[in-house]
């Protein structure tokens, strides 16, 4: 029996799902913002602090070895989880944001020239726009937006048409956090590869929801963040081709990323350590390892199947809500729904839903250009995880109607 066959038992593993908000049971529909953590992940963090707390890769004493073994095991687990070619391709970062910045500073900036282009879609999170803008501003390169359609799909043809000899990198979100769109990343990677253009896929919203195989995708860089993957805050990774990591100069300097330091000259360690200076978020990464084990015990395919059912139920329920307009309604989509409701501002909806125990996000979802494209300042967004239920969808739809009546 799969754990997904007993949802109440599975939910009981998440202490926060038992919380009451304003006297109502919590309905947590803000999973695209951050996911809840199973007790086992919380325990992995506490156990490290209670039993094995020590710095990694430095000390030869027992605690130091235990901490290092636990911490480095996560690298193996994550490598297997996303289908990296080797553990050396996994660079630990604070999250997606730092991972993209690492690529911008270390891969692109050293060779970026005036007129060079970085092509990213109009549905990117700021994390996949602003780092490129920073290095582009410095070097005279420019960030070019790839077109999307009114239903929130990538305009593949239009995007490929923008690839040209000046294009240095294509950045694309695997699953859009603002629209829920699942992008045809393999197609874009192949098109870029055929033109010798590097590719970065932002997998923040993909890895928590379905199986990802980085080697099969064949992108140059894949980035992800732990806190959306039921793991601790302050964890994430850049998965990159080993040859690129070897060639890239270091980004930040400090301990552990060096082989030998002297005032005459310093030599650097091999990847991934070359990109991981200083004491890392040891506890967090140990928790990430526990989260991956836990997810794999359930099975990402089973999770994806359940989420597809929840998505379809939610899509149907939202379609029946009067005055509600979906912002983004791609054919291939995740259980992430952005919407606006006539006469009801997203913030007011979110606050009123919260009064009924329901957590949704309202705002621009760190995707200003996407909001601009759709001509809305903000949307409300309900994003589901496999621990959500059809009953919760019903509670949400009722509360939405009530909020709307109140504001009308």
């Amino acid at each position: 029996m799969n754990r997904l066959d007993d949802i109440p038992a599975l939910r009981a593993e998440f202490p926060q799902l038992a919380r009451r908000i304003h006297g109502k049971p919590l309905v947590y529909f803000d999973n695209a913002n951050t996911a809840q953590k199973p007790q086992l992940v919380i325990d992995a963090v506490s156990d490290y602090y209670r039993l094995h707390n020590a710095n990694v890769a430095r000390a030869v004493h027992t605690l130091g070895e235990e901490a290092t073994t636990l911490y480095e095991a996560t690298r193996d687990k994550l490598a297997r989880f996303v289908g990296a070619r080797s553990r050396e391709e996994v660079v630990f970062t604070r999250g997606t944001t730092e991972a993209v910045n690492l690529v911008a500073y270390s891969f692109l900036r050293p060779t970026l020239k005036p007129g060079d282009e970085i092509l990213v879609s109009r549905m990117e999170h700021h994390a996949n726009i602003v780092p490129w803008q920073l290095v582009a501003a410095e070097t005279g390169a420019k960030v070019v937006p790839a077109p999307i359609t009114a239903s929130g799909e990538l305009d593949v043809e239009g995007t490929v048409a923008l690839m040209n000899p000046r294009t240095r990198l294509v950045g694309l979100v695997h699953v859009s956090n603002a629209l829920g769109t699942v992008n045809p990343v393999a197609e874009i990677i192949a098109a870029a590869k055929a033109r010798g253009i590097a590719t970065l896929i932002d997998g923040s919203q993909a890895v928590p929801h379905f199986r990802v195989d980085v080697a099969a995708l064949d992108c140059d860089f894949y980035v992800l963040t732990g806190h959306k993957l039921f793991a601790p805050t302050g964890t994430g990774a850049l998965i990159a081709r080993r040859a690129l990591l070897d060639a890239m100069p270091p980004f930040m300097g400090g301990g552990e990323m060096i082989r030998k330091v002297s005032f005459e000259g310093t030599t650097f360690n091999d990847p991934p350590h070359k990109f991981e200076p200083g004491t890392p978020n040891i506890a967090g990464f140990i928790g990430l390892g526990a989260a991956i084990d836990w997810l794999q015990a359930i099975g990402m395919d089973a999770i994806a199947a359940r989420e597809a059912r929840l998505r379809d139920a939610m899509r149907a329920a939202l379609a029946a809500v009067d005055g509600l307009r979906l912002v983004g309604d791609a054919r291939a989509r995740a259980a992430v729904f952005s919407f606006v409701v006539e006469g009801a501002h997203a913030h007011d909806l979110a606050t009123l839903l919260d009064h009924d125990g329901i957590a949704v996000r309202s705002g621009h979802h760190c995707a200003h250009p996407t909001m601009q494209f759709f001509g809305v300042p903000a949307t409300a967004r309900a994003s589901l995880a496999f621990y959500n239920t059809e009953d919760e969808i019903a509670v949400f739809i009722d509360a939405l109607a009530k909020a709307r009546r109140m504001l009308a």
């Binding site: 006297g23 913030h347 007011d348 009064h355 705002g363 903000a378």
Partner: protein
């Protein structure tokens, strides 16, 4: 941390939101200002006609949430005929109230519940920023 929020969307707030006062454009404004809420992208413009440090007329415009809209409506109302120092005074009263102190004047007291919603406080403050922006700037 949050108390029961029933009073946040009180009748006072909802009524101001439903039929905001002084919403539209003020053709003969002497001062104009705008403010934006980075969290949601809401934007509010405030236009004032000022003579001898007194507000003769005030109007606001923009798309914003119920809290910001109601606050703008209350502010425009309160400013008509009032000394320009009123903007700063009301802002200070709101801050005091949010910190647990005395209620702010008039309808603004309806925002007391916001002390439990720090993230929404800036919604109520948005029109205050726009108005003080207007007063701080050069005459329009």
């Amino acid at each position: 941390m949050s108390a029961h929020p029933s009073t946040l969307y009180s009748e006072t707030v909802l009524a101001h939101n439903r039929t905001p006062r002084h919403c539209g454009c003020l053709a003969d404004a002497t001062h104009r200002g705008a403010a934006e809420n980075a969290l949601c992208g809401d934007q509010l413009d405030f236009a004032l006609r000022v003579r001898n440090d007194r507000v003769e007329a005030a109007m606001f415009d923009g798309e914003a949430c119920a809290i910001a809209t109601a606050s703008a409506s209350m502010l425009a109302d309160a400013l008509h005929g009032a000394p320009i120092a009123t903007v700063a005074a009301i802002a200070a009263e709101l801050h005091t109230m949010f910190a647990g102190g005395a209620p702010a004047r008039g309808d603004f007291a309806a925002f007391a519940e916001l002390r439990h919603h720090p993230a929404r406080q800036r919604c109520a403050l948005l029109p205050l920023h726009a108005a003080s922006q207007a007063l701080a700037g050069a005459a329009a």
